[in-house]
């Protein structure tokens, strides 16, 4: 019995990890459409400022996008006039420490650590973070209902963050 549950957990963890690695690659490669397709219809993309983030409905966040604002963010890239991403930042990120925090019938809450290395005309910038996901199964596929990126240095002044973190 215990073994069977452990096995289900392992299978889910593998699936979740694969999903997160794929998301990371799509972001690094600026594959905007494929990345947007990972979102659930009610997805929230949240990058708090000033710590863990209090109430995003009350306090400023770096990003607090609902699904339609995520779409707008992608559309802006695709105009070819989003200057801060022309040329695009060169990016590679390492995602690790993937853990399942909770799950129920159709969703799973996951945490991971990430470090993004960005190179652009200003220089090199490193963006370390703890990421939190709420992934939901939609038609058999995992989709992001929430992605929260808590930058380690978000209490300090931050340079422009115009790629997909």
């Amino acid at each position: 019995m215990m073994n069977a549950i452990a096995e289900i957990d392992e299978t889910l963890l593998r699936e979740v990890t694969r999903f997160i690695f794929r998301e990371a690659r799509l972001q690094d490669d600026h594959a905007y459409d494929a990345w947007e397709a990972l979102w659930a219809d009610d997805g929230i993309y949240w990058v708090p400022a000033n710590g863990e983030g209090g109430d995003p409905e009350r306090e400023m966040s770096l990003i607090y996008d609902n699904r339609s604002r995520i779409a707008l963010r992608i559309k802006q890239f695709q105009t070819g006039k989003r200057h801060t991403q022309m040329p695009r930042s060169r990016l590679r990120r390492i995602v690790s420490n993937v853990e399942i925090l909770a799950r129920d019938a159709d969703s799973v809450r996951v945490t991971a650590n990430a470090v993004v290395y960005e190179s652009n005309a200003r220089g090199e910038t490193v963006w370390p973070s703890r990421n939190e996901y709420l992934l939901r199964r939609v038609d058999g596929e995992l989709r992001m209902a929430l992605k929260k990126v808590v930058l380690v240095n978000n209490e300090q002044p931050l340079y422009t963050l115009s790629f997909l973190i």
């Binding site: 009350r58 209490e155 963050l161």
Partner: protein, 419 residues
């Protein structure tokens, strides 16, 4: 002052329509600006609503100097420097809070939130020492206008009222958009850092020439009406208000449209409670005019940019390092408007903003570009031939003209030339 002197150093760098590139990149010039501008003139520090209760405090800055803005138990606001008067330790490392006193962790000296030294451990070691002279350093002059708190490191000089001059009327216009006549700063700040000189930011804030180009991407996908306000056919004007301050006055366009809350990209019908509170407060006619005119777009010298729905506080850190502290304006008595203020602010500004990330890109590119050896000068002559004086005696130009930059540099020169 002497007739024997030739033209000043500043006269050789600042001409009527040209400024020299070194003004943005020379570290010695930045040091001179700290002394002549940032540590002399009135600088915006914070808003009274950030320390609403007795004993509240919040960390602020004037250029590279850290400032603790406190409200003492009697309700008075102080601007204290973050340096223990014993051996210089930093006193406060918390962004904000509520404290009657600050105790230095190094040797335990304790200071009241009005800056007075209150107690020292093992006091017998200080027999005969006057504690009165060992209070915290402070910004010697502090004053406020409609809750906006300013500080000046010069013990003497023009009053805040004189410094603000015509900018006061713009602040009046701003707070009139609250049915209670007050704004509040309650949503916390984004701190957007750019590797650029503060003056590139300052001059961009009322540069009506760039939006159509720098912000073309978001204007084209967000069905935004901002773009047209800054077009060649716009009836909006750029106005130099004197004392370094300038504004893009968009009211001519909003009046032409004639719709209440059009300035905010929305309709009065969507906010019936707000409309009725405004009409209750000001009477129907005046309230409707306020809601048609909207909020100002004004750069208050040297560091407070009121940008319709948000404020930016510019912090000059080094010759090529500037932080923009930005947050949504919140209008007292207008909760339904305030939510939209926050949402739009988060979308448009800060490190990831649809608008500001592209402005910041230009700040950093100009900082790099201006270091090229040739041409040595920047040309700020746009619209000089069509500058005019309005009914109130202010210099105005078309909204895309460089009236504001020319005014800024004239004022800058007068401050740098001063003894």
């Amino acid at each position: 002052m002497s007739v024997m002197h030739g033209p000043s150093k500043w006269a050789s760098l600042i001409r009527e329509e040209h400024v020299h590139g070194s003004l943005y990149v020379d570290p010695a010039i930045f040091e001179a600006e700290l002394e002549k501008i940032w540590y002399r003139t009135w600088v915006y520090v914070g808003h009274a609503s950030e320390v609403p209760q007795p004993n509240d405090f919040v960390m602020k800055s004037i250029g590279p100097q850290a400032v603790i803005m406190t409200r003492d138990s009697a309700g008075r606001i102080h601007l204290l420097l973050n340096r223990c008067s014993h051996r210089g330790n930093q006193l406060c490392l918390t962004r904000k809070g509520n404290a009657r006193s600050f105790t230095c962790p190094y040797h335990g000296w304790s200071f009241a939130n009005d800056g007075q030294l209150r107690a020292v451990p093992y006091p017998s070691g200080y027999e005969g020492v006057d504690k009165g002279g060992l209070g915290l350093g402070r910004v010697p002059r502090i004053d406020s206008y409609k809750g906006f708190v300013f500080g000046s490191f010069a013990a003497q000089g023009p009053s805040l009222e004189q410094h603000l001059g015509a900018a006061r009327e713009a602040i009046d216009r701003l707070v009139a958009n609250s049915p209670e006549g007050e704004i509040e700063i309650t949503a916390g700040f984004l701190k957007h850092r750019v590797k650029s000189n503060w003056k590139f930011l300052f001059e961009n804030e009322t540069d009506g020439y760039h939006p159509q180009f720098v912000h073309a991407s978001i204007f084209s996908v967000a069905d935004s009406r901002i773009g047209g306000l800054y077009g060649a056919k716009s009836t909006a004007v750029t106005r130099y208000l004197g004392d370094g301050h300038s504004e893009n006055d968009l009211r001519p366009e909003f009046r032409r449209m004639g719709n209440r809350l059009a300035w905010f990209g929305t309709f009065a019908e969507k906010f019936p409670d707000y409309v009725s509170r405004m009409q209750g407060a000001y009477g129907a006619d005046k309230a409707d005019q306020i809601m048609i005119d909207g909020t100002p777009h004004i750069m208050v010298f040297p560091n407070l940019f009121i940008a319709e729905i948000q404020i930016f506080v510019l912090q000059a850190v080094a010759v090529d390092d500037t932080v923009q502290h930005v947050t949504a304006l919140q209008f007292k008595g207008a909760p339904e408007l305030n939510r939209r203020m926050r949402q739009q602010t988060m979308g448009s500004v800060g490190s990831a903003g649809f608008l500001l990330a592209d402005d910041a890109e230009m700040y950093e590119r100009t900082q790099r570009g201006v270091q090229s050896r040739d041409p040595e000068w920047l040309f700020l002559g746009r619209g000089k031939h069509r500058e005019r004086v309005d009914e109130q005696g202010f210099l105005v130009g078309d909204v895309t003209d460089e009236v504001a930059s020319r005014g800024f540099w004239k004022h800058y020169r007068s401050l740098m030339d001063a003894e």
